[in-house]
């Protein structure tokens, strides 16, 4: 017998009613996402086939934007750069984020302190990214704190030029801005690990390192994955951090798009955006193969 076949008609009607009201309750979200997410994406896809002159663009079905994009060696180096930024940022945010979350979840004993220290880690998330980038200037500048300190310690004679407006500064800013996207999901997963599992491992004679590699890391994998998806997609889609922290000397895909937009070359910007979107989605799809996020909420 099929499930639900023996429901009374009243129950069936109640279930239908619940489904209907859920549908109505979800309407506002559907409306927002339809008009400000799905439609714009469809529009970008469409415009990527349009053609442009210097001052206007018009409907067409042309592959010239894509031909130009894939025909240019700049595209490949810029995409490579984007992956390098994402990879480096991912490694650093993961190492730092995991260590911080591990400390908060398993080494801080009182719940109150856990909450206080966790909040200290998350508060910067609610402040302006642009201000947080600007605030690196007095640290990294030619006459900044870092150079002054290194010179006074006798480590270097001349101020280092590559501290600010360089790849180093870009990755540093990414790590600074996005480590909390690692800390939060990893900490969240760790807090749900049954402490008795760790006790059991210890009673069975496992060392601290063995507990970490055999118990904590495998159980924390979903949190690590969610954090990784956040960090990788944020870095891949970024354009402002790269522009500001490299002093406009370096480019990633986001900057390619925003430069085209600045020149009013919308079809070309759209083609780059479509390729970026596909790249991001493929990256996420690969990462999602390792975890079912719906189970983790």
């Amino acid at each position: 017998m099929k499930a639900g076949a023996n429901l009374s008609s009243a129950e069936r009607r109640a279930r239908f009613g619940a489904g209907l009201s859920a549908l109505l309750l979800a309407t506002p979200i559907w409306a927002v996402l339809l008009f400000f997410l799905l439609l714009p994406i469809a529009m970008i896809v469409a415009v990527s086939f349009w053609t442009a002159t210097e001052w206007s663009f018009h409907p067409d079905f042309s592959l010239e934007n894509y031909e130009f994009l894939f025909g240019s060696p700049v595209t490949y180096s810029v995409f490579l750069k984007t992956f390098i930024y994402a990879g480096l940022t991912w490694i650093f945010t993961l190492l730092i984020g995991f260590t911080v979350a591990n400390f908060l979840a398993f080494h801080v004993q009182s719940l109150t302190w856990q909450i206080v220290l966790f909040l200290l880690c998350t508060i910067p998330f609610w402040t302006s990214n642009i201000i947080r980038m600007i605030s690196w200037i007095p640290f990294l500048g030619r006459n900044g704190i870092a150079n002054q300190a290194l010179i006074s310690w006798g480590v270097i004679d001349e101020p280092l030029e590559w501290l600010l407006f360089s790849d180093f500064a870009v990755v540093l800013a990414f790590v600074h801005l996005y480590t909390l996207f690692m800390v939060v999901p990893i900490f969240n997963t760790m807090m749900r690990i049954d402490k008795s599992l760790i006790e059991a491992a210890r009673d069975a004679g496992a060392s601290g390192l063995q507990i970490l590699t055999n118990v904590i890391i495998p159980l924390t994998k979903p949190g690590i994955m969610i954090g990784s998806i956040f960090v990788v997609t944020l870095v891949m889609g970024d354009f402002i951090t790269v522009r500001f922290m490299s002093g406009s000397q370096e480019a990633n895909v986001g900057r390619l798009i925003s430069n085209d937009v600045g020149l009013l070359q919308y079809p070309s910007a759209s083609a780059t955006a479509v390729v970026l979107l596909l790249t991001v989605l493929i990256t996420i799809a690969i990462m999602l193969r390792f975890v079912d996020i719906r189970k983790e909420l």
């Binding site: 559907w30 439609l39 260590t99 640290f139 759209s270």
Partner: protein
């Protein structure tokens, strides 16, 4: 008390350095914003003054920052209220399976991971093709919702996954209508988490840059105005502005946290009347 192992102190030291890394730059510009009138963008301090804060009140020095602050504040409130209302509705909806629920879930996740500049570009194109002007409270508002709504919804998912359904069933058994159940049982129970959703809604909107870049139109929001300043302002006035707006963010976050603590306390006091009725 048990003696702490060495690893605790090493990790605590690491954590301390991490906090320094997080807050050090912000504290540095807070100090530097009190530079003397002749001071520059880096140390040493050239005297101490509030000169650069005073400059913020002069149009010629900084442009229209107060106007943009007003717009960002209004937009933040609009986004906050909308995010809370729509997220609660969405959270309630997702408690049962409904037609399209799986697709909607994936669209929500997509909204979170799609590069912001695509939203900016796409919404700009749509408005352009429809012949509408982009404006911070129309296109800017909608673009920001694509960032705040997923956060709000994820919080609601987490809340409802931990929600004890027997409260609702009890209400229904006593004859409450669905609306009464929502109004008098569910909403009071989830109220403290709504403070969290509101915090996300306001602050993410207030600080949003990429999604408003091409959708705000001719009137800048504060982050856009600040970014404009970075290209042509080379005095500590930008630190003064950064310090003020960060202080404002801290104030907002602090306000929400206090509200959340109070709401939790209140709920703890009033939560249960078990055993007090039939004596």
């Amino acid at each position: 008390m048990e003696k702490r192992p060495l690893s605790f102190y090493i990790l605590a030291g690491f954590f301390g350095l991490f906090l320094l890394f997080l807050y050090g730059p912000t504290i540095t510009i807070a100090i530097l914003s009190f530079q003397g009138p002749q001071g520059g963008l880096t140390f040493p301090m050239n005297g101490v003054s509030t000169h650069w804060f005073a400059d913020l009140f002069e149009q010629q020095a900084v442009g229209d920052i107060w106007g943009s602050f007003g717009r960002s504040f209004a937009l933040g409130l609009m986004v906050m209220v909308t995010t809370v209302v729509f997220s609660v509705m969405g959270g309630l909806a997702f408690r049962v399976r409904f037609p399209g629920s799986t697709i909607l879930f994936y669209v929500v996740i997509a909204s979170l991971v799609i590069p912001s500049i695509l939203i900016s570009l796409g919404v700009g194109l749509i408005f352009n093709q429809l012949g509408w002007d982009v404006h911070w409270w129309t296109s800017g508002f909608g673009s920001q919702l694509t960032w705040t709504l997923p956060f709000g919804l994820l919080i609601m998912f987490a809340v409802f996954n931990r929600f004890d359904k027997s409260y609702e069933e009890a209400a229904r058994d006593q004859g409450a209508s669905s609306w009464q159940t929502v109004r008098y049982v569910i909403l009071p129970i989830i109220a403290p988490s709504l403070i969290g959703v509101a915090l996300f809604g306001f602050t993410l909107s207030y600080d949003e840059f990429a999604r408003t870049l091409l959708t705000a139109g001719s009137y800048n929001t504060l982050p856009l105005e600040i970014f404009g300043m970075t290209t042509n302002v080379t005095t500590p006035v930008i630190y003064a502005l950064g310090t003020l707006t960060t202080a404002f963010s801290f104030l907002i976050v602090g306000g929400f946290l206090v509200a959340a603590i109070l709401a939790n306390r209140r709920r703890a006091r009033q939560a249960s009347d078990a055993g007090k009725g039939m004596v």
